[in-house]
């Protein structure tokens, strides 16, 4: 059995803790039944996070998109995530600690979330994630790989990882990030504005790639991006604009949104970076012209793109994330990037901007 939790808990905390302990035990049982335990370790937001998978078939689902930040196991991890699959193991989830009414709210079940505890119930994907900071572990149950959307393979455990990273002041943002080890940019904009297009264009340049759609933004101290997933997405009709990706027929799949997902760590591993200091935010939009240009902009629009999504998708950290993102965006300049049809101009324009900006050595207060 796992370590007993302290007394003087509320009824909700007791119910959660019981569920959580049972979930950890269930995952252990699933591993035992499978006769194999898979351990994969990743460097995520300055923490060593170990995935403990109860079946090898879970590896591609949860690990392929994180392969670029995989590290060798050394000592105890900072946090461990225990994952099992009911269809493979026959071990079902423990009885729920939540009620049917709790499920009216999407995803996070606020009644059970506090400074230590986290609970995310994903009905559509048939998946439950429960975490406990004090025990430095989380348990994840899935009904079967078939229930998980392809988006999970491209970007596994987004909510649990956002909660985990938020402890260190990192928040998942809907943004691309490209640059150099000494400094890069965060590229924000609505879906379809060209974030992926901009980031993928930089793969064929001297600039390094951290993310094309979703990354972590470190808000404690110097603003910095940190890579989360090494998957890039392009609409099928746009792939021909990037011949180095078009040539690649392996390490891709097409998702239900009509986009091709590329596992970049298997295609251009040398172009990927774990992260870098952020020197500027770029609000991207297509210009409709050949040339790409950049001009100054107000940061309020950047917060409009970044703040609400994180706060609404993860309300447990939403209040903190909005304030932290706002504080970070106040500290860095903001520009509008109008991307042209000549793809090669995009990285050149960003590189020229980075050359003009001062080093981002000033830490936040």
């Amino acid at each position: 059995m796992h370590e007993p939790l302290p007394t003087r808990r509320t009824n909700a905390q007791e119910r959660f803790d019981d569920f959580f302990n049972r979930a950890l035990d269930a995952q252990e049982r699933a591993e035992m039944l499978a006769g194999v335990s898979v351990r994969r370790r990743f460097r995520l937001a300055n923490s060593d996070v170990e995935f403990r998978l109860a079946h090898p078939a879970l590896e591609p689902l949860f690990c392929d998109a994180l392969a670029h930040i995989e590290i060798a196991a050394s000592g105890e991890p900072d946090f461990s995530i225990h994952i099992w699959d009911e269809s493979l193991s026959g071990v079902e989830a423990p009885p729920p600690c939540w009620s049917r009414d709790d499920l009216l709210a999407y995803g996070e079940i606020g009644e059970f979330i506090d400074a230590e505890r986290y609970l995310y119930v994903d009905l559509d994907r048939a998946m439950v994630s429960a975490g406990n900071r004090r025990m430095r572990s989380a348990a994840v149950w899935i009904r079967s790989p078939e229930h998980l959307a392809e988006s999970e393979r491209a970007a596994p455990l987004p909510f649990l990882l956002n909660w985990l990273a938020s402890e260190a002041g990192y928040f998942t943002v809907h943004a691309a990030s490209v640059g150099r080890p000494e400094g890069g940019v965060l590229v924000v904009g609505r879906s379809g504005a060209g974030k992926s297009h901009t980031a993928i264009a930089c793969l064929d340049s001297d600039l390094l790639y951290v993310a094309d759609d979703r990354c972590l933004l470190g808000t404690k101290g110097r603003p910095e991006s940190a890579s989360l997933y090494s998957t890039a997405r392009l609409y099928v009709a746009d792939v021909h604009r990037f011949p180095f990706l078009q040539r690649n027929t392996k390490n891709t799949f097409q998702n239900q949104d009509g986009k091709v997902v590329f596992f970049l760590n298997a295609i251009v591993p040398e172009r990927l970076a774990p992260g870098f200091p952020i020197k500027a935010v770029l609000l991207t939009q297509p210009s409709g012209r050949r040339d790409t240009k950049v001009e100054t902009a107000l940061a309020g629009s950047a917060l409009l793109f970044l703040g609400p999504e994180n706060a609404l998708r993860s309300p447990s950290v939403g209040r903190v994330s909005l304030a932290s993102l706002a504080s970070t965006l106040r500290s860095i300049p903001c520009f509008r990037l109008e991307t042209g049809t000549d793809v090669s101009q995009i990285p050149r324009t960003i590189a020229g901007l980075l050359d003009m900006l001062p080093e981002s050595e000033t830490p936040l207060p």
Binding site: G90, L123, A326
Partner: protein, 159 residues
């Protein structure tokens, strides 16, 4: 029309906001809607946050903007009614604490007044309105109905 000594407060904790570069982003966590207030709108929001009544808001706007030709009270009142309708603010009793006009003290003369608009964004609302009805038995999701034929090994057996 909202009366001049009416007092309001931000509808916390379900409403959160931040301001950058004269643009305030407001999020209603309960509905999934989020909003943008720019220029005079951001100033009005800031005075409400600081406990100002309607006459305080009008005084602050006059101190900060060139308002010639505008019916300031009418413009402010219209915005306040929209904020109330969206549950972003709520009426409050006037307390003993006086309004501390830190916004007015940062007044910058010569900014032309533009009537405030509340831009509303609803693209995240659908995410919060998913139907939770799924294949559930009396024990609750994610337990599948006992007659489903689904293979099971109850995790309780490990205890």
């Amino acid at each position: 029309m909202v009366v001049s000594d009416a007092a309001f407060e931000v509808n916390e904790p379900m409403v959160i906001s931040e301001t950058i570069d004269d643009e305030t982003i407001i999020i209603n966590l309960a509905t999934g809607s989020y909003f943008s207030l720019k220029h005079s709108g951001a100033t009005i929001w800031a005075v409400i946050q600081q406990g100002g009544i309607l006459s305080d808001i009008a005084a602050t706007v006059r101190a900060r903007f060139e308002v010639d030709g505008h019916d300031i009270e009418h413009e402010i009142s219209a915005l306040v009614e929209k904020l109330l309708a969206e549950d972003l603010i709520r009426p409050k009793e006037r307390g003993a604490a006086p309004f501390s006009p830190s916004v007015a003290s940062a007044a910058r003369k010569g900014i032309p007044f533009v009537a405030p608009t509340l831009d509303r964004f609803t693209d995240m609302e659908a995410m919060l309105l998913l139907d939770p009805v799924h294949d559930v038995d009396e024990r609750g999701w994610p337990q599948v109905p006992l007659n489903s034929g689904h293979a099971r090994t109850t995790s309780d057996q490990t205890h």
